[in-house]
């Protein structure tokens, strides 16, 4: 843009709330936990729930709810950033890291460099595997110590807190390794393919 119009009399109301360097550009802090989904919230019973890991149409691992709950559990305390501009600080989560999931499935060598996360309700999102390993991501089953509510992605959602929150897919059921990157749901509808909040990669071309 050639010029930036100034809004006289406009100023921050809540600047004091946020520590310097804590908020990515264009974000503001909320204490709510807003819900954003493209359709109705799926009502999933854990007795019917399974989670699977796939490559090239074959199964690398599959877990029932009980089996999944028996995997090593990790706690995360992270800031989360939604592309719709709210950020929520110091959220606490509990679940199974992607590393532990690979370990449980006996996957020693990564079969491909990209992942598509598939969810109940048909939602999907794509991620580089590099953003899931080394303790950077988990499949979360608890938020602030309680089971995740259906509207927030329960019983289990992906949590990739260093990317915009649409990458932390709700109602995750299946992770599929891909040899070639493909675009997920929002990524096919004008949103950025990677979504780094610190680079403000909201939309395609950002």
């Amino acid at each position: 843009m050639t010029d930036t119009p100034i809004s006289r009399g406009f100023g921050p109301r809540h600047r004091e709330q946020t520590a310097q360097g804590r908020l990515p550009p264009g974000q503001y802090v909320t204490t709510d936990f807003p819900v954003l989904s493209a359709g109705p919230t799926p009502q999933i019973k854990v007795e019917n729930w399974t989670f699977s890991l796939q490559v090239d149409g074959s199964l690398l691992g599959k877990w029932s709810w009980a089996e999944f709950e028996a995997l090593p559990q990790t706690a995360f305390k992270k800031d989360i950033h939604c592309v719709t501009k709210w950020s929520k600080l110091d959220t606490t989560w509990r679940g199974v890291t992607f590393d532990d999931l690979l370990k449980s499935a006996g996957v020693a060598t990564l079969p491909a460099l990209y992942i598509m996360a598939h969810c109940d309700g048909g939602y999907m999102t794509n991620l580089p595997v590099a953003d899931l390993i080394d303790g950077r991501a988990m499949i979360a089953t608890r938020f602030e110590d309680l089971p995740i509510l259906p509207a927030h992605g329960g019983p289990a959602r992906l949590l990739v807190p260093h990317l915009y929150f649409w990458k932390s897919a709700k109602w995750a059921r299946r992770l599929r390794f891909m040899r070639k990157d493909e675009r997920g749901f929002w990524e096919s509808l004008g949103y950025h393919n990677y979504g780094d909040p610190w680079k403000e990669q909201r939309y395609d071309g950002d």
């Binding site: 009399g9 406009f10 493209a38 096919s188 509808l189 071309g205």
Partner: protein, 257 residues
């Protein structure tokens, strides 16, 4: 939902453009519409939104998203802004912004919560409060295209004074046998009110909706509790969850749930 596509080359970046305020319409005690000229605007689809950015004299900036309420057929872009009492941007837009002022805008954004006459019907719109805005873009587009797509709007407001676009909606429905509007007022109903007087429930939806076998295109927009309730009930009534498209409205997309 849609199938995936191969990752294409990145699109052209959505650049910030100056939007010039040409008119301000008082819609309700808490809501105004801003009519904007955006030079080089490349058009939009009904249901899409924009990001706006205010810049203070000291360089401080704040961004928010607003749905576009105008149809693609209009030269001017209309944004409808509701007051968020402890908000930072909406009080400025409602109390300080004047005709002739400018601010940064980029868009259009979003390609899922979108309806055009080409998509066809029947069309079933459910709005709560200022969630009417993107649905109004669809209704205005339908009107401008002289479309006869059978359309139902179920619109939930607190009181009669809070009904946004009331005159325009009434006029639209008056001359159009294919458009039906049901209002519900959840807090206070005036004497002689013939509409509904309660929050959206299953019975109310069943009375106002198309049948699942009519395969309606359904759009629900409003505060999170309304959207969660209505979309869950629609699925219970037999509508395919993939035909129900939702969008949350409010200070940060809704209230905590």
């Amino acid at each position: 939902m849609t199938a995936t596509k191969d990752a294409p080359a990145p699109a052209r970046r959505l650049e910030w453009q100056p939007a010039l305020v040409r008119d301000i319409v008082v819609e309700t005690p808490r809501v105004k519409s801003l009519l904007l000229d955006v030079t080089g605007w490349r058009g939009h689809l009904p249901g899409q939104h924009v990001d706006i950015r205010l810049t203070a004299e000291d360089g401080y900036q704040a961004q928010r998203s607003y749905s576009i309420a105008s149809p693609p057929e209009d030269d001017r872009l209309t944004l409808t802004v509701e007051r968020v009492d402890d908000g930072e941007v909406s009080p400025y837009l409602l109390d300080n912004l004047r005709i002739g002022d400018r601010f940064g805008l980029r868009g259009p954004i979003g390609g899922y919560f979108v309806w055009t006459t080409d998509i066809g019907g029947p069309l079933y719109l459910i709005a709560g409060g200022s969630g009417i805005a993107p649905l109004m873009a669809m209704l205005r587009h339908r009107r401008r295209q002289n479309s006869r797509v059978p359309t139902l709007l179920l619109y939930s407001s607190r009181t009669l004074d809070d009904v946004i676009y009331k005159g325009e909606l009434d006029a639209m429905a008056d001359g159009d046998p294919n458009l039906r509007i049901a209002n519900t007022l959840t807090r206070k109903q005036p004497t002689g009110w013939t509409g509904y007087g309660r929050r959206i429930d299953k019975e109310l939806l069943a009375e106002t909706s198309f049948l699942p076998r009519q395969n309606p295109k359904i759009f629900v927009c409003g505060p999170t509790p309304l959207v969660e309730t209505a979309s869950r009930l629609l699925v219970e009534l037999g509508h395919d969850s993939l035909t129900v498209k939702t969008e949350r409205f409010g200070p940060t997309g809704g209230q905590p749930t």
